[in-house]
């Protein structure tokens, strides 16, 4: 690594742009080593999968044509005629799912190790926003092949948006580009998926990464309390980065396995006049919300059940995002580790509802 810092290229750049911060990062960034070090890698894996998304997404863009009469046909062309088009589509679809999965793992690992606490509140908030945007990526991308399942799932999904109080109906109209899911919806979802979301996501991602580099890796409480001579560190470059890279390679290997052995169906072209096919389910990361909404009674007090559910999840999401700013004054609560228990309940709820949704 030192040879790179001594290289002519680096010196040339350094003399013009003062690369001290980068030099400092390369030479001095350390990663603590302890029993929870494994969780430090989760963010990197999520980032790696995002990079795959960008790369495969750009390749798909070269052939994809949004439109009621061209979307399905162009995806069919990609998977049947374009050389390795099927592989790129499979990688894009599987990588999207893995990215959301690792984003969840990353979020909960940060939560349970309390890495979101001061001074990393904004890193947490930006990370949560990235997860929400990632799910929005998934929702908007699901419709793009314009097949039967995607069409009806989007219908159900946008109907749920309609249950948001006061602005729901308008929001649904804006999303659908009309009363129903049509070619107009497809155009909008394509715009959202390929332009709006990437722009916002990239900005927040840059902010998130800058924060991580600026503040370094969070150290858990027990690690902080260790005497200095007992604290173990490895350098970020190359030690941690190489380990990170090895994990990326393993994840990539798993991704290829999924893409080859569990290929995504093209399905049948969406037909608005056809009856809804059996087994319409949202993508797995929406399942816990979908299943909860299904279980709610038609009315809770004076509010419609679905509206109540949507309000609940919106409120719960906001509380979750603002968790670093919640201060528990009572010592009794702190002792009982209320935050950790809440986290366990949330994970149990999400996992339980997801399994229930698939078993039903």
């Amino acid at each position: 690594m030192n040879s790179f810092l001594d290289s002519k290229t680096f010196n040339w750049l350094d003399s013009r742009y003062n690369l001290d911060p980068i030099k400092k990062l390369i030479l001095h960034k350390k990663v603590p080593v302890h029993k929870h070090t494994i969780w430090y890698y989760m963010g990197g894996v999520t980032l790696f999968l995002f990079m795959i998304q960008v790369f495969t997404g750009i390749l798909l863009l070269m052939y994809y044509q949004p439109g009621e009469s061209s979307a399905f046909e162009s995806v069919r062309l990609i998977v049947t005629k374009v050389k390795f088009g099927w592989l790129i589509r499979n990688l894009h679809s599987w990588s999207a799912n893995l990215m959301i999965f690792f984003a969840f793992v990353h979020m909960f690992s940060v939560f349970f190790t309390k890495a979101y606490e001061k001074p990393r509140e904004l890193t947490w908030v930006s990370g949560f926003l990235l997860l929400v945007l990632g799910m929005a990526f998934g929702f908007s991308g699901y419709l793009l092949p314009w097949n039967e399942l995607a069409f009806f799932a989007t219908k159900v999904g946008t109907d749920i948006v309609g249950a948001v109080p006061f602005v729901g109906e308008e929001l649904k109209l804006v999303l659908r580009g009309g009363q129903d899911v049509t070619g107009a919806t497809l155009s909008r979802f394509f715009g959202i998926h390929a332009a709006i979301l990437p722009a916002i996501f990239t900005l927040i991602l840059i902010f998130h990464l800058l924060m991580v580099q600026r503040q370094g890796m969070s150290e858990p409480e027990f690690f902080k309390k260790l005497p200095e001579n007992k604290k173990k560190y490895i350098s970020f470059l190359p030690d941690f980065a190489l380990r990170d890279f090895l994990l990326w390679l393993i994840v990539f290997y798993f991704l290829i396995f999924l893409a080859l052995f569990f290929q995504w169906d093209l399905g049948l072209k969406a037909d608005a006049l056809a009856p809804a096919p059996q087994g319409i389910k949202p993508e797995w990361y929406f399942m816990f919300m979908f299943q909860s909404l299904k279980l709610l009674p038609p009315h809770i007090w004076f509010i419609e059940g679905e509206t109540f559910g949507v309000l609940f999840f919106t409120f719960a999401g906001l509380v979750w995002m603002l968790v670093p700013f919640i201060k528990l004054k009572s010592e009794k609560f702190q002792k009982r580790n209320v935050i950790i228990i809440t986290g366990i309940v949330v994970v149990a709820f999400i996992v339980g509802m997801t399994i229930y949704g698939y078993l039903e």
Binding site: T80, W86, L249, Y253, L260, L266
Partner: protein, 419 residues
């Protein structure tokens, strides 16, 4: 005579031109036409009057049929015999009254150059017209089907003669058991027709191209088809079936036995969707109506049935494979094209049944089976390719394993160096 006709035409044309400008709008007409203004003020407009009926649209108001002078508001003068007022016409006079304009080609062609003007003459060849001439006033005349005051063109979905509405229009009389008993006719035609393949297409699926009553019985010259003409009636649409049947030995046999061609197997008002079940020695087969076990005809029926069953079986397999190929996102274009051709051959094979010649059916179905088998082969090869893709995993495994081991060794080396 010719001069009189020209004069009539000029008068009628002037009348139309004058009224077209004045009666574009019914409200305008209320002001200009005293028939309309008085009758609507007194709320005694005829029952079912439609302000935008075709005559009103073209500027023909009440006096066009009933006579009289709409220009004066004096009832005595406007509705006087001197002014040609005829009041409510007798039913027997209605065809002649409509025919004054509708049989006049010089006049009618001003509206549409290809317009028909033989309705009245055709009508008097129909059973309705013959009976009317005989003095039977219970039979249908023009207004019975077209209505008197809400006449609309056949292409208007509100019209009583719009294809989808025709069965209901005929049924107004032909569904009246009491009326029909005078003529020894059943009143169940509509009920039977509405459950038939044609009725379902027209009445339930609103397919205006499906045959209504008039497509088989004629419009103005409506008559029950004679035995000899039945195959021609059906053959108007089912051309190939008719040609095959007429050149078959079966047609000769039918003719000798006075059998009703198509109707003998398919029925008439209650024609059901045909299927392969109709042929062979099974219970639902129509062949068993006349043929018995092991007679030559039954052997032919069973032989044709077997050819079709084999074809359908291989075709169904191919369709299922095509579906899998499509859902999996493999290349289905060629398979789909082959199966479209095979489907056509299946239809042709089924049509060829009407030749009652197993060799002919076999010849067509053989080509279809070959196409289907090629489609199956292509579908299998697509699915093979689908699973062959997994072989790529071996190469990926080797490459990534080598790369992974290299990184792992590097990590170990660095760790060792750092002690």
């Amino acid at each position: 005579m010719k001069q009189k006709k020209i004069f009539q035409f000029i008068i009628a044309a002037c009348f139309i031109i004058f009224n077209t400008s004045a009666a574009q709008n019914f409200d305008d007409l209320k002001e200009d036409d005293n028939c309309v203004s008085c009758h609507s003020d007194m709320e005694i407009m005829p029952e079912g009057f439609l302000p935008d009926n075709i005559h009103m649209q073209k500027g023909l108001s009440c006096s066009g049929c009933h006579g009289g002078d709409p220009a004066t508001d004096d009832m005595e003068i406007s509705m006087s015999e001197d002014n040609g007022f005829i009041g409510v016409p007798d039913r027997a006079d209605i065809p002649g009254m409509c025919g004054k304009c509708h049989s006049n080609i010089e006049f009618m062609r001003t509206f549409r150059p290809q317009i028909q003007t033989d309705q009245v003459s055709q009508y008097f060849t129909s059973m309705h017209g013959i009976k009317l001439k005989e003095g039977d006033e219970n039979v249908a005349e023009c207004a019975s089907c077209h209505t008197a005051h809400s006449i609309l063109p056949a292409k208007d979905p509100r019209s009583t003669i719009y294809p989808v509405n025709i069965p209901e229009t005929c049924n107004k009389c032909h569904g009246d058991q009491e009326l029909m008993s005078n003529y020894n006719i059943e009143a169940t035609q509509y009920k039977e027709y509405s459950k038939s393949v044609h009725g379902i297409a027209l009445l339930e699926n609103k397919d205006a191209g499906a045959p209504a009553c008039n497509d088989c019985h004629g419009n103005h010259g409506a008559m029950p088809p004679e035995i000899t003409s039945i195959s021609h009636v059906c053959g108007t649409c089912h051309v190939n079936n008719m040609n095959l049947f007429e050149s078959s030995d079966m047609a000769k046999g039918f003719s000798q036995l006075d059998y009703h061609a198509c109707e003998q197997c398919h029925g008439y008002h209650n024609i059901q969707e045909p299927g392969d079940f109709m042929i062979g020695d099974n219970e639902e087969s129509v062949c068993t109506d006349c043929h018995f076990e092991d007679d030559e005809g039954m052997q032919v029926a069973v032989s044709i049935k077997n050819i079709l069953t084999d074809f359908v079986s291989v075709y169904d397999t191919a369709e299922a494979k095509l579906h899998t190929v499509q859902v999996k996102g493999m290349n289905d274009l060629e398979i789909e094209y082959l199966l479209k051709e095979a489907r056509q051959k299946l239809i042709e094979s089924r049509t060829a049944i009407h030749s009652f010649d197993p060799a002919k059916v076999k010849e067509i179905s053989k080509a279809g089976v070959e196409l289907t088998q090629k489609a199956i082969k292509d579908a299998d090869s697509e699915m093979d390719e689908y699973y062959t893709r997994r072989e790529g995993f071996i190469f990926a495994s080797v490459a990534l394993l080598v790369f992974g081991i290299a990184i792992f060794l590097r990590i170990r080396l660095i760790s060792k160096d750092k002690g």
